[in-house]
Symmetry: C2
Subunit: 345 residues, 2 copies
Amino acid sequence: MADTDVQNGAESAAKVRTLADLARIAGVSAGTVSRALAGNSLVNTKTREKIEAIAREHGFRPNQMASKLRRQKTGVIGVAIPLGHDVRQQISDTFFMTLLGYLADELTEKGYDLMLRRVIPAQDEDWLDRFIGSGMVDGVIVIGQSDQFERIEDVADGYLPMVVWGNHQEGQRHCVVGSNNRLGGKLAAERLIASGAKSLAFLGDTQPIEFAARYAGAKEVAAKMGVAIRPLPTHLSPERTGEEIAKHLREIEGKVDGIFAATDTIAVTCLKELRERGMEVPGQIKIVGFDDLPISSQTMPPLTTVRQDIAAGAKGLVDLLLRRLEGEDTESLVLPPHLVLRETA
Amino acid sequence: MADTDVQNGAESAAKVRTLADLARIAGVSAGTVSRALAGNSLVNTKTREKIEAIAREHGFRPNQMASKLRRQKTGVIGVAIPLGHDVRQQISDTFFMTLLGYLADELTEKGYDLMLRRVIPAQDEDWLDRFIGSGMVDGVIVIGQSDQFERIEDVADGYLPMVVWGNHQEGQRHCVVGSNNRLGGKLAAERLIASGAKSLAFLGDTQPIEFAARYAGAKEVAAKMGVAIRPLPTHLSPERTGEEIAKHLREIEGKVDGIFAATDTIAVTCLKELRERGMEVPGQIKIVGFDDLPISSQTMPPLTTVRQDIAAGAKGLVDLLLRRLEGEDTESLVLPPHLVLRETA
DNA sequence: CTGAAAGCGCTAACAG
DNA sequence: CTGTTAGCGCTTTCAG
């Protein structure tokens, strides 16, 4: 063995890729370097500074895979977006994307990284187990229950660090954060009726559980007030939606004077079709949306809608997840929606 | 040493967490299990099936951290969104979020996972090196150059697997995918002038390099045609933008009859302010946007705008990155924008 | 305060 | 076709 030929001109040229490399040129052991770089308590200040200097000089970064393997935690939270019904569009759905943005903020702030996975349950039965079992994430946030309520329930029993954005149902086992959709539906229907509508329609797919709850709330109010309400199914992707809505509008003309749209996106499209058919809003037909996206205040006329607090939702998701990571079995969080009165109803 | 006390009632109760566990109860070696689960070539079919059965029965998933450490690749692509000027809003900017959605699609399809990181360069000088050097990702996609052009350039010299969404500049060193913003700016200005505008304004921040290029293109055309053009700076966050635009509108009233908005989001807000001031579009004032977001066809009147092909952009980013992962030093990809003629100009 | 040593769980030669 | 062996690069007792 040649002796440690350290202090020659080649020193700074040598690329230092491991703790051991760095240790060698610092003349200490790998353990010490590890401790120093971790800011660990009991390392001589001189030694630490020296090590830090060398690390900086060589642009050294400890290998995270090794670190994570050793420590048995990843510092990564998985965020899954299941694309159930409307495969193509959901991921670019403005609401979910905005929620994702806030989630990224919150997680970053708490020192976690975010691993995004778009899943198509229909093509991959096992999506949730795989994500969880991948060993890549410390916990999972699922954005939207889609049509996967049961699968999520199944998993929840055996896996604590998971929180889901979606609808809350009496007695469910998975921890969910979401708006009170049923209440939101009630608010919408109440407003529509209060502003004079005599016959309602719910515009949107009623399969997704969140939408179903919105519709159910509206139905409850409608029944109580003795007005009719009918479902008008649509898809989420804007291209097809336009035609679908136009078709619905033709069919209901004169029969419906109050529309509750499942989302603002649908409401905005509807508003446009209404305009093209020359229907006056809110004169001849009233409309209420759901979400309160930024666009909603920009439409003509500005959209009356039911607001979900996205930032609060993201905060709640992260907060509950972190507590679950600590072992706490947290309750679900149901946020109250608020009616935002503008000019369409 | 006790002999392998395997086949007793406890067998199926024992939780199998490692290859070794599984190997023990299958009566083979860890190596074989590894090969079997990897679908590797030369494992006896019987053996493989047995191993797969046991794995399924116990819900076993190999630990990815260990695997990745060993194989020196992560199967993860990092996606960074630098928040330069307008810290708060950019991440929920519709355009970037839509691009992110498509990226998620593309990467998933190619078998990669996506690690999302929102960075605030002002608070973290070292963001890009850290992301790259973290050992968590095989390659990096940066969404938007923000005000970080120079930093990205610096890094590009020493790090191949990086592709950036943004503007292309003659002689730059990093690989970029993006629209020809300058050309887009020309198209916008030409259209404005062709539809009768005599004095133009560019509505939006001119600092970000992409916006600067759009403005430059418009300026070039304006100069050639002998019409004036002035910049009207705004922020991106919708709350403040409304007021800012209103203020600008007050100041330019009667002096400007053609507005080129840096993005559709800005254009939509502008349209609304214009309406509130009772200005007729396109009668009194014309307006052209940029991006062609879904909302743009829903405004009243529908927005004339310069279209960026987001899906093609995402495809290009992933495609180039994968080639760089193979060692190829790819060229940048500049996509042609298209004028979408609607009713505002 | 620091070094030595023992793995985290998996994969990939290398032998059989 | 399968077992054995030797690490990937880091963290963490356990001794000094």
